[in-house]
Amino acid sequence: MQWIEAGCLEDIPILGARVMRTAQGDIALFRTANNEVFALNDKCPHRNGPLSQGIVHGNRVTCPLHNWVIELVTGSAVAPDEGRTACYPVKVEQGVVSISLRPDELQKSA
């Protein structure tokens, strides 16, 4: 797997998100209360709302446009809403966050 450095863990607010601009579009990096980091395509499966701007709670984020709730681990909308956005593998080593730009299709699809 090819990893790209995204930045320091410190620079992502706890229960918040930052955006990484890439050729394939914006990727949102979320940091949970347990200091886990998750990466999702910054587009809500509903109507492409920027998930990075949402409120993070537990392992979930609420989209700012119409309040869909998205699972950070799988990118899936919480029922009864249906849909899924791509998620990307992330690792955090010595406070540095890296991601792979190949979306994680198989192992995480719930």
Partner: protein
């Protein structure tokens, strides 16, 4: 090892308890269920539409066998429990098997009451309780023609309607003079009877049945006065009795039902009971709404959380006969010390009666037009003071103009394809389908699944009507006061009280104090808690940006494409060439696509890229423009008219007054947005009477108006009082705002808040209590010390929250 839980009674209340338990403590118990019916759990309420041929048995299943398997629950259906051996903590089934438990839930429901007359056991005499009964009735309808239904209550009428739809000729026999006498007063009962007669139903009432006639099969019914009716099918629907047989046999204390305390515990501490078999505070219930509340409380104790109490329920009733709209709740007969408001329009088939005591609604009966049932019920549950809008009560919540659903007020009159929810484009048919196919019971569930009524809420009455026509009274399942959100069972008011009294200073502390279910809450509670803390401790509390909705975090409104809009303050709606030039330059410099005059007398710049925001603000700031808080639960605009300075009718300087109020109050965070206006004379060109706080100048001073709203639901203001000087206007205004800030629930605008607490209360606090007003004013001024920092300048010049506006990294 996991503890063992046994549920006896595989019906609606019991299984709901398991569902609630699995939500909060999925792995606590090894669960075994015994049910005497040979099915999974089904929606008993919908037996009526099954009988009427509108639904099939398959469509009313709530939890099929797969559900039990998926949740690791052992299901024994078709198995009756004969005895509970409490000493050894085990149950013995009718076929002799046994199983042990640590805790047990009794949910045995009720039995139909069969009138004890000769002939009651003849073939052809049935009850109306379960799938077997319905199948028997449908089979009889194929062979026979004449049915008599004994009982003119909810069940009897639904049975009669169903049999009629199956092609039978049906007579309803009722012992009282009024149909559904426990839910309807005489007038409404008569109207109901009339419309059922018009549909071809027959009535024999008042009449007391003394014998069921027949030898091999029923052939008729005889009454006390000697008269007889021919019948080849008799349905006993004369009421229900809690099924306490098993409990009694096992030595559990029972009266009319199994007696439980506020935690749904019986006299045997390891045995709980829920549902129709229960007697709580001397009440028994026969509708699902209260049973579901019991289920939630019981699950909370089974999970060992131990903090919920069941305190009884207020129930409302509707009849599930297509095309008949009827609503009833509370005490509708009045009596000593109560007054009635009645409206009757026979030609429209409409009747409304409200019973009021001490300015609170005690009961309501609606016939024909029930769209306001939900509203009255809410006012009853809240114990709202209705004095201020009493003269309008009868005309309903909508008579002042509800935006967004074409003025429809009768769901029954709508076709399946008609739009109910104008925000989300949801049609009636989609709602009906979701309720039945997905087994939905509450407004919250319907909102989650269909999105109807989940945005502006103006169609809530219609959605509730649709639910009522499908579910009867079953939908009205709201506890007295709603919990703050799904993460807790505590209410807004309880949480606020603890914040003040326990001196809680962070969101984390509040969540720990109340044992929040989700460790960091959700998008509903976090902004509310952030506000409550900020309002309680203006100096001490450290605002939490991550608990604010993006608009308040970024200090601009997010747009559908992810860009932002920027609305600078334009004090009192007055501007000048410098401000306009600054705006024009910013628009050019940042290629801002749209410039629009808003409905609030200022200018909106739309389509600004997020990373440009700080620079845009810097430029605006140079021209003296500050944040207009168009994005916040905060003071928004103060609209003014030109007033005495120019207008030939002006009585006071309304423009200057407006600017003064805006300068005094800007920056203040509120439970919801807050809008003001000042008009120079009663022509009211600034529309002050639909604002949260409106001022109308008159020759002798200023009229102060409160609680207006021009949005989803128009509500004109109430007159608070009249004052003489500008200083007084400011003092009353700030005191009113502070009262609203301290006491309204998060996301209540002033209009619903005033309707809940009553204008009299607000007057008492702000007008009559001089000391109190001055104290409110002082607290407001104190909190403004910490609030009046222009958030734009902080971000543009001091780089506050810089990370909010820049990407973490760009790779191209």
């Amino acid at each position: 090892m996991r503890e063992k839980l046994i549920l006896v009674g595989n019906g609606m209340a019991g299984v709901r308890t398991l569902e609630e338990l699995l939500k909060v403590a999925p792995d606590k118990y090894e669960i075994t269920v015994f049910g005497s019916e040979p099915y999974g759990n089904y929606n008993r309420i919908l037996l009526s539409p099954v009988l009427a041929g509108e639904k099939t048995i398959a469509e009313i299943m709530l939890n099929d066998r797969q559900w039990y398997a998926d949740n690791g629950i052992m299901l024994h259906c078709g198995t009756e429990v004969a005895w509970i051996d409490r000493a050894r903590r085990r149950v013995i089934t009718a076929d002799g098997a046994s199983a042990v438990y640590d805790r047990l839930v009794l949910a045995t429901g009720s039995n139909p009451f069969v009138v004890p007359v000769p002939g009651k056991d003849l073939p052809g005499v049935v009850t109306f309780r379960d799938i077997r009964d319905v199948q028997a009735m449908i089979a009889a309808a194929e062979k026979y023609r004449h049915a008599v239904v004994i009982g003119g209550g909810l069940l009897g009428l639904e049975a009669a309607n169903g049999l009629m739809r199956q092609g039978m000729s049906v007579t309803v026999v009722h012992i009282h003079e009024t149909l559904m006498e426990r839910q309807l007063d005489r007038v409404a009962g008569e109207m109901l009877r009339l419309s059922l007669e018009q549909r071809g139903m027959h009535f024999h009432m008042p009449a007391q049945t003394v014998e069921i006639l027949g030898e091999k099969r029923v052939r008729g019914v005889r009454f006390e006065d000697g008269s007889e009716l021919y019948a080849d099918l008799v349905v006993m629907a004369a009421g229900i009795r809690p099924n306490i047989e098993l409990a009694k046999k096992s030595g559990i204390y029972c009266e009319r039902g199994v007696v439980v305390n506020d935690t749904l515990q019986t006299y045997d501490p390891s045995i709980y009971a829920v549902g129709e078999c229960v007697q709580h505070r001397n009440q028994t219930y026969g509708l699902v709404a209260p049973l579901f509340e019991q289920a939630r409380v019981c699950a909370n104790h089974l999970a060992h959380f131990g903090y919920l109490r069941y305190q009884g329920s207020l129930v409302s009733t509707k009849l599930k006969v297509t095309g008949i709209e009827l609503f009833s709740a509370g005490d509708f007969n009045g009596g000593e010390g109560s007054e009635e408001i009645v409206l009757k329009d026979a030609s429209q088939g409409a009747y409304k009666k409200l019973v009021i005591r001490g300015n609170r609604i005690q009961g309501a009966v609606l016939y024909g037009d029930t769209v306001d049932g939900a509203w009255y019920f809410q006012l009853m549950r809240d114990g709202a003071d209705v004095a201020a809008f009493r003269d309008q009560l009868m005309f309903g919540q909508a008579h002042l103009g509800d935006a967004g659903h074409g003025g429809q007020n009768k769901a029954a009159a709508m076709s399946d394809g008609m739009e109910v929810c104008g925000c989300n484009g949801v049609c009636k048919g989609a709602i009906v389908k979701a309720i039945t196919e997905k087994g939905l019971f509450t407004l919250e569930e319907v909102r989650a699944h269909t999105k109807a009524s989940s945005s502006c809420g103006s169609c809530t009455g219609l959605v509730e009507q649709i639910m009522a026509s499908v579910l009867g009274g079953g939908y009205a399942a709201a506890p007295r006061e709603k919990p703050l959100c799904k993460c807790t069972d505590h209410t807004h008011d309880e949480v606020r009280k603890a914040i003040r009294e326990q001196h809680l200073l962070t969101i984390r502390e509040v969540m720990t104090h109340f044992k929040w279910l989700n460790p960091d809450g959700c998008h509903s509670c976090r902004p509310a808690l952030n506000y409550y803390l900020l309002c309680a401790w203006p100096a001490e509390y450290q605002d939490d940006p991550q608990s604010r909705f993006i608009n308040e975090r970024a200090h601009a409104n997010i747009q559908k494409d992810g860009t932002y809009s920027v609305v600078p303050r334009m004090w009192g709606g007055v501007t000048n060439s410098n401000e306009l030039r600054t705006i024009a330059d910013v628009v050019d410099k940042f290629s801002i696509p749209t410039v629009k005059v808003t409905g609030g007398q200022r200018i909106d710049l739309l389509g600004v890229k997020k990373e440009d925001l700080p620079a845009v603000w810097r430029e605006l700031g140079k021209g003296g423009l500050v944040s207009g808080h168009a994005y916040g639960k905060a003071l928004r605009t103060v609209k003014t008219c030109v007033g005495k300075e120019w207008c030939r009718f002006g009585t006071q300087d309304s423009t200057a007054m407006g600017i003064r109020l805006e300068k005094r109050t800007w920056g203040s965070w509120m439970p919801h947005k807050f809008k003001m206006a000042v008009s120079g004379c009663p022509r009211n060109c600034a529309e002050a009477t639909i604002k949260d706080f409106g001022v109308v100048a008159v020759d002798s001073g200023w009229e102060l108006h409160v609680g207006g709203n021009g949005g989803v639901k128009i509500r004109p203001t109430d007159l608070l009082c009249k004052v003489a000087t500008e200083d007084e206007v400011e003092e009353y205004c700030c005191a009113f705002i502070q009262l609203y800030r301290e006491e309204a629930r998060y996301l209540d605008r002033t209009a619903p808040w005033i309707e809940r607490v009553g204008l009299a209360y607000v007057k008492q606090r702000v007008v009559e209590d001089t000391e109190g007003r001055k104290a409110l004013y002082a607290r407001f001024i104190e909190s403004q010390k910490y609030a009046q920092l222009d958030p734009w300048a902080e971000r543009a010049q001091r780089e506050v929250q810089k990370h909010e506006f820049t990407p973490l990294r760009e790779v191209v």
